[in-house]
Symmetry: none
Amino acid sequence: MINKNSPIPIYYQLEEEIKKKIQNEELGPGDALPSEREFAEEYQISRMTVRQAINNMVNEGLLYRQKGRGTYVADQKFEQDLSGLTSFSEDMRKREFVPSSELISIRTLNHTPLISEKLKLTADDLVYEFKRLRLADNEPIALETIYTPVKIIGDIDEVDITKSFYQYLENKLNLTIDYGYQTIEAALGNKEEIKYLKINKGEPILLMQRTSYLKDSNETPIEFVKSAYRADKYKFNMYMKR
Amino acid sequence: MINKNSPIPIYYQLEEEIKKKIQNEELGPGDALPSEREFAEEYQISRMTVRQAINNMVNEGLLYRQKGRGTYVADQKFEQDLSGLTSFSEDMRKREFVPSSELISIRTLNHTPLISEKLKLTADDLVYEFKRLRLADNEPIALETIYTPVKIIGDIDEVDITKSFYQYLENKLNLTIDYGYQTIEAALGNKEEIKYLKINKGEPILLMQRTSYLKDSNETPIEFVKSAYRADKYKFNMYMKR
DNA sequence: TATGTATAGTGGTCTATAACATTAGACATA
DNA sequence: TATGTCTAATGTTATAGACCACTATACATA
């Protein structure tokens, strides 16, 4: 159903409607969607609005169009774009898993050499350490440790910050991440990773490290993240241009 | 200039106009574009058409918008991949190693389902398979297997093609790679990898797969590459924007 | 039987218009 | 010196209608 009086844009509501139908398997890969004109008629909205919804989903790779024929549901593609700076939650939702996370610990630490270098901190600066287990459809996927400077984040709302660190930055602190550097390597799980990821000794993991910077003109590091991903459950996807 | 009678869509002509101005450096990163209303007025076209052009460029990452402020030229693309579409040799030189490679085998194969899907081939198309060992300072780093369609590459010069596949494409065949999709995962080395990479059983490796496409308008796959990297010697680095 | 042809349906492009939300800056006010 | 308020400019969302190019199909014709 679409609510025309909602502050949520109609085209966005329609996207959600269509995604639901894909999730419910009312629509499967290769199936034709109703035509744009039918959507417009059914929901009593303009065809251009329908096109805006469909355009977005085509850009996301969820649908594809054939001129003169119709619009179809795309194959289940992990090839979704990526760019890297999407959050775990976004990433998982794109792959049509239900993301969740469990907070393992929050601590305030003095600097360590590695972290203070990455976050450009001086000797007396403190950092928060958030340790979280990331799950998809309730299966553990990654063990994530975020370091972030106390002097930028200030006092934290534990409930909010554990849900989405990025949304907390954007909405509560009005801070936007602009760019980041990331490395990916392979290793064998250590004791902690074996425990939380529920894997066996001798199984490989993907180790990701990222430093992200704020959208200001000072190249301010805002987070240093270390994540260990289960190799049997996770794969990094990238699109590269030129 | 925009030609309204041309069969080329107006929004596309406008995109080209704006791209030209960026190329000529009339517009540089961070510069504001004329407003949508100004574009519409200047070229005597509808504002919605202007938006279609700008939308496309925003989706491509060439421009970005700020609500209530304006539309701006984006910084350089994702900083030219640090791991992605550069060759192994370039990559290694950046890290100040001396790169080399050993040819292991060249074969001509019939299709297999995986490869013909990746390269969009039909049943009777043949592929070349190049298998190379990549070294840095004479230490084995990666075992690389390239699949590429015979019908595009034609007869090959074994000496040249083993040095640099990409230079061979560019210089001998005048083919340019435009973009690619890449996945990275972790695994344990199989027998072949253990042998060539000189690692021990049970040691982790990074598995990279990439499909690259030509710079034409047909989305033509030109290579499918599988590479196995020694986890103790190699790490993927990426820079990500926004 | 094979080959055009008319037609209805689809997505693609484009116009013209309107109301809304956000931003920055000028200005008045406490 | 701050703080709020108005205003003009921007991008955002949405409407309604028009014509085009392409695809599939039914039907008439050679």
